[in-house]
């Protein structure tokens, strides 16, 4: 007879709260005409705050729920926080953007919340199918959102490209999962680990591992699976690009690390070699291609590819040091990139007309505070102290050095130097050049201002006082080892 599994909702409560907030926004949207965007934003923020509180018990748990489908542990706790921060800041930045663009689309917030819930299932998934469901929930929401600008052909193109390539990557992932199932007879991560520890590591399992790796590399936009990134980041609405570049990356890396370090440790020698090559390619291509971009959204897209390469180094180094470096890097990158894209959204003005690098000329005069914030974000992306980006790179590189990956670190540092050029170009434009006609100063709405203040403060705070956060990251990776 069927016996009911024990149900513990602690693990999924944060995601449930996000879904509930999404449903409430849908219902509220039927009755409100004016101010629907502000109300939806408020409901979304309340939902995210509630989810943050509900997320706390996970920190001290080390458990699994729903017949081992979901892990309830500190690792999920840390990454859930990253995801919630990303979703919250995205929602705050989006209100003004949507109002300016004249899009009264409250479903936007619903989809952001659902995507965040999907990310949480991906982060917590202890079973490859659970991870896949989380991946699809988040991908489908993002496909719709990427095409969200009604008048823009570029936005439709972005959605279409992302849908087709994303579907292809999902197919690869599923094929890999099927091969792993064929080799081990289970898809639960602990079950896979047990099976491979028993010594049966065949070609079938290796092929499955390779295909799953391709699926994840697509989502984190590592070279050579990065082709979609510049076009999609460029075409999508800017606040959403911010969300994609940090949220999707964080969730994909989280699941990537969990699958590979929990289930596929027996293949570590194999996949470390593959990742080594991918990381080198990703860092070189991302940074070199970013140098020639004139469009700041495309430049940040290539920079996001390059950062995926740095995070891969953390995975290659492995161990507690490497993976906690990955977690810290993801947190730092979340604040930094959200802030940078927030300013890109603001400077872009109506219809995203001003997204070229030359549009940043004279920003230091017209909006001194914004220019300072943008400089801080660029410093952090380039990895210059005292910002969070520096500590992130430092932790990851030193973990790799400790494992003896000297050449990898040398390449990483050299490509970082290349990246300084294009990040500083933005700062140069803002302070050293003057435009032919000075546009009117930008006005910030309270929500946007709050989002930018939080991200700037985050970048500086966890950069200047990193010890606590590095400690938390180190504590959070314990369940994996």
């Amino acid at each position: 007879m069927i016996s009911l599994p024990e149900l513990t909702f602690v693990g999924i409560l944060p995601a449930l709260l996000l879904c509930a907030a999404g449903v409430v926004i849908l219902v509220v949207g039927w009755f409100l005409r004016r101010g629907v965007l502000v109300v939806s934003c408020a409901v979304g923020i309340v939902g995210i705050a509630a989810a943050l509180i509900a997320n706390n018990p996970l920190r001290f748990a080390n458990d699994s729920a729903f017949s081992n489908m979901l892990a309830v542990d500190a690792y999920s706790w840390f990454l859930n926080i990253v995801i919630l921060i990303a979703a919250g800041l995205t929602i705050l930045m989006s209100v003004r953007y949507l109002e300016d663009e004249g899009i009264a689309m409250y479903e936007y917030f619903v989809l952001v919340l659902f995507a965040a819930a999907g990310m949480m299932f991906m982060v917590g998934g202890d079973h490859i199918l659970m991870i896949y469901i989380g991946l699809e929930t988040l991908s489908i929401s993002i496909y719709i959102l990427a095409g969200g600008l009604p008048e823009s052909v570029k936005s439709k193109e972005a959605a279409m490209k992302y849908l087709i390539l994303g579907g292809f990557a999902s197919g690869m992932f599923l094929y890999g999962a099927a091969l792993l199932f064929g080799a081990a007879g289970t898809l639960s991560l602990t079950g896979l680990a047990k099976h491979f520890q028993a010594g049966q590591v065949g070609l079938l399992a290796k092929a499955g591992m390779g295909l799953i790796l391709v699926g994840f590399c697509f989502k984190v936009s590592a070279v050579p699976f990065h082709m979609w990134t510049p076009d999609v980041y460029d075409g999508a609405p800017t606040p959403l690009t911010a969300f994609m570049s940090v949220g999707v990356k964080a969730a994909a890396f989280a699941a990537f690390v969990r699958v590979f370090f929990e289930a596929l440790t027996q293949f570590q020698v194999d996949w470390t070699q593959i990742l080594w090559a991918l990381a080198v390619l990703t860092m070189i291509l991302g940074n070199v291609a970013a140098v020639v971009q004139e469009n700041i959204k495309r430049m940040l897209a290539y920079s996001s590819i390059a950062h995926a390469g740095y995070i891969l180094i953390g995975m290659i180094a492995g161990g507690k040091a490497g993976i906690s470096g990955v977690l810290y890097y993801l947190l730092a990158y979340t604040f930094t990139n959200l802030g940078a894209f927030g300013i890109v959204a603001l400077v872009g003005r109506k219809g995203e007309a001003r997204i070229m690098l030359k549009d940043y000329r004279g920003l230091g005069n017209s909006n001194p505070l914004l220019a300072v914030a943008m400089s801080i974000f660029m410093f952090s992306l380039a990895g210059i102290p005292p910002t969070a980006g520096f500590i992130g790179k430092f932790t990851i590189f030193s973990a790799a050095l400790a494992q003896g990956y000297i050449w990898l670190v040398i390449i990483a540092v050299l490509t970082s130097i290349v990246s300084v050029f294009y990040y500083f170009r933005v700062i140069m434009k803002m302070y050293m050049e003057t435009p032919e006609t000075q546009p009117a100063a930008l006005q910030l709405s309270p929500a946007t201002a709050a989002a930018l203040i939080i991200s700037t403060a985050g970048v500086l705070y966890i950069g200047i006082f990193p010890t606590t956060y590095l400690g938390l990251a180190l504590e959070s990776v314990k369940p994996l080892f």
Binding site: I2, L4, C19, L26, W30
Partner: protein, 118 residues
């Protein structure tokens, strides 16, 4: 063991007999006046032979997607109904929440005018 399958064999034989009987009787007894429409695989609905690159109205896809959503709801309802005596009130509330969420979806679709044909 084998006798527990006996009713199934009866059903198989019976349905085979009825199937053959209907076709045989109507060929033997009925008057045979074929026309082009009568000989088509499906007498009503879509024309089965034509250009493969015929265009469908995009509305069909919308309706199709909505259909799938509610189809999946039914698929969830079946296993739920089978173990309902174990789930009891808890299961009832769970399913109520699930159906309520789908109802919100349906209402949203309705409100947005996706159910209007024109």
């Amino acid at each position: 063991m084998a006798e527990s399958y006996f009713p199934i064999m009866v059903i198989l034989l019976l349905s085979a007999f009825i199937g053959v009987a209907i076709v045989a009787l109507s060929t033997l007894l009925g008057r045979n006046r074929p026309s082009e429409v009568k000989l088509m695989p499906y007498e009503c609905g879509m024309d089965p032979i034509g250009d493969a690159r015929r265009r469908f109205s995009v509305r069909f896809f919308l309706t199709g997607m909505l259909f799938i959503i509610f189809d999946i709801e039914i698929i969830f309802l079946y296993p739920w109904a089978i173990i309902y005596d174990k789930l009891m009130f808890f299961g009832f509330v769970e399913m109520l929440i699930f159906v309520a969420i789908l109802a919100v979806g349906l209402a949203h679709v309705w409100k947005k005018g996706a159910l209007e044909w024109e």
